[in-house]
Amino acid sequence: MTDVLPIPAKPLRARVDVRSSRRPWPLLKGRRIGLHVAALALLLAVLFPFLWMVQMAFRPADDVLGDALLFRPTLENFASLWQGTFPRSFVNSLLVSTLSTATSLALGVPAAYVLSRWCFRARGRVSLWILATRMAPPIAFTIPFFLAYRWVGLQDTVIGLALIYMTFNISIVIWFMQTFFAAIPKALEEAAWIDGCGVWQAFWRVTLPLAAPGLAATAVFCFIFSWNDFFFALILTRTNAITAPVAITNFLQYEGWEWGKIAAGGTLVMLPVLVFTLLVRKYLVRGLTAGGLK
């Protein structure tokens, strides 16, 4: 190990990068210790509310607001959640999010591809108007949606809610994917055409696999947006299609707030987001087009 290192920031960082990729704990010395402590403190501050909620979820009911760090963890909050209607809401949330993500990708990805490859005159304007649908405040759509849904019978249904999220997600999908597609060299598709692919086959077998990291990021984004939405779920569902975030608010009642359930529900709602993010992390950091062109 060489001596470290009162030299300018750049080479320092470069060298440490190499090292830290080899060993889990890079050498801590002087200034670097300070940096690490600061980062840790910041992390704790940011995570504190979340961690607090998680520990609350595991506290016994009579000590839910206690602040002793030592307590006997229990699953009784989760058990009582399991007995109520919460599991159903959780499943609703999963269904709505998955459905809206799938449909917005299925419609948005081909649209984005066409917008990124096909040069027609109104292209710029079409893209802009697609994005504009996302800029309007949700409240502007609420009443029309509410009335229309009551009329066609989509109120309080999983499909209805998924449809709404889809309309919001699709513009994001189109904008994200358009940039990702633009970054994939057209020459690769041309090579595929020469090799015998039709336009859509080249898209499916060459372009889309190369856009996989972007696709994963976009999917996560859509899923999380649908998963986290509270506003539309609150207004457009009543009993059947209620989603997890709305269900949690049902534990805030006149006769008392059920803190244990709220915390347990909140912890569960965080879970898919965490899992998803960890799953796609590998994709997000890796560029796929390296080596294709001169």
Partner: protein, 355 residues
């Protein structure tokens, strides 16, 4: 295999025309090289034949059928791209076998054909690698392999050997030629390399600024270039050009601007006093202590098999190539005699061949 016929082909980008009415006939099984300076439209022409660029005018026929509006996948052509265009997410073997996979060829058959191509190209140990794990030359060979595992109507090559070292290039050149002799597939081959163009081609097409300057067998182009551009472009080191005028009084000769008289075998009719450009290839100078013109040596470059001399003749620079080893030093005078039968005359204005 199929013939390729190009008639009055045009192309412009925005308002700028880059191909101005190109016509080329390529017979079934012929190997044609396209040469020309950078930016003259070789890649554009090739891409139009492949169906990757829209045709701005004229027509392209492959095997007798007009293909102007046929999709690339239905033209049954294989192409090696100037920038390789390998699929980054596929291994070398998958890259090479992709076209066959699409056609639904049997897996074992694909593996066998890929293995054979890999052997020819020296890629056998690399079949499981991804393009990003290859060197530039290896990538180029994979791009080549992707074309040769197929059995298409036409091969299109866009400078497929430009990134290889000299030895590998010579080796690959021979492989491609051998491949062509075996398969007899019509091939169009773009290159910057003189030697490649000369040695591989049945016919060379010389292009400049989106026009065909001349098309013909390599040695015809070498011996009878249609104009000064082709004369200067084909052959290395390039042909020497001397400005001056033709003089006919009894015997025909050419008088350079410096007043030096060079013999001509014959002169074009009624050309006495006409301004012209005299062209002579470097190997058509001989050393002749009796009747030679004294030129001052500037640089001597022995290559082992021959000696290249750069000298000044009447204030203009000329290059001579000699089989013998010369002991001439820079600054010395060398008696050079041009071979009158090998001299070319070009019009002083438009560069067209006079004789």
């Amino acid at each position: 295999m199929a013939s390729v016929t190009i008639r009055d082909l045009r192309k412009s980008y925005g308002g700028t025309a880059v191909i101005h009415g190109v016509s080329i006939d390529i017979a079934e099984g012929e190997f044609v090289t396209l040469v020309g300076p950078s930016g003259c439209g070789k890649s554009t022409l090739l891409r139009m034949i492949a169906g990757l660029e829209e045709v701005g005018g004229g027509e392209i026929r492959i095997g007798g059928c007009v293909v102007n509006d046929v999709a690339p996948k239905d033209r049954d052509i294989a192409m090696v791209f100037q920038n390789y265009a390998l699929y980054p997410h596929k291994t070398v073997a998958q890259n090479m076998g992709f076209a066959l996979t699409l056609k639904g060829v049997d897996k074992r058959e694909i593996a066998a054909r890929v293995a054979r191509a890999a052997e020819v190209l020296g890629l056998t140990g690399l079949l499981d690698r991804y393009p990003r794990q290859l060197s530039g030359g290896q990538r180029q060979r994979v791009a080549m392999g992707r074309a040769i595992v197929r059995d298409p109507q036409v091969f299109l090559f866009d400078e497929p050997l430009s990134n290889l070292d000299a030895k590998l290039r010579v080796q690959m050149r021979a492989e491609i030629k051998e491949l062509h002799q075996r398969l007899r597939t019509t091939s169009i081959y773009v290159t910057h390399d003189q030697i490649e163009a000369m040695t591989m081609a049945d016919r060379i097409v010389v292009m400049r600024d989106g026009r065909v300057e001349q098309a013909g067998a390599p040695l015809d182009l070498y011996d009878r270039p249609a104009n000064r551009f082709v004369a200067g472009f084909i052959g290395s080191p390039a042909m020497n050009f001397l400005k001056g005028r033709i003089a006919v009084n009894g015997t025909a000769s050419f008088v350079t601007e410096g007043g030096i008289r060079l013999p001509l075998a014959k002169a074009p009719p009624a050309s006495d006093g006409r301004p012209a450009v005299y062209g002579l290839r470097p190997e058509h100078f001989a050393i002749d202590p009796d009747g030679g013109i004294a030129v001052q040596v500037a640089v001597v470059e022995p290559t082992g098999s021959e000696t290249q001399v750069v000298a000044t003749l009447a204030g203009q620079e000329v290059v001579g190539v000699f089989r013998e080893r010369l002991s001439a030093k820079p600054g010395e005078f060398l008696p050079l005699r041009p071979n009158p039968a090998a001299a070319h005359l070009f019009d002083a204005e438009d560069g067209r061949r006079l004789l």
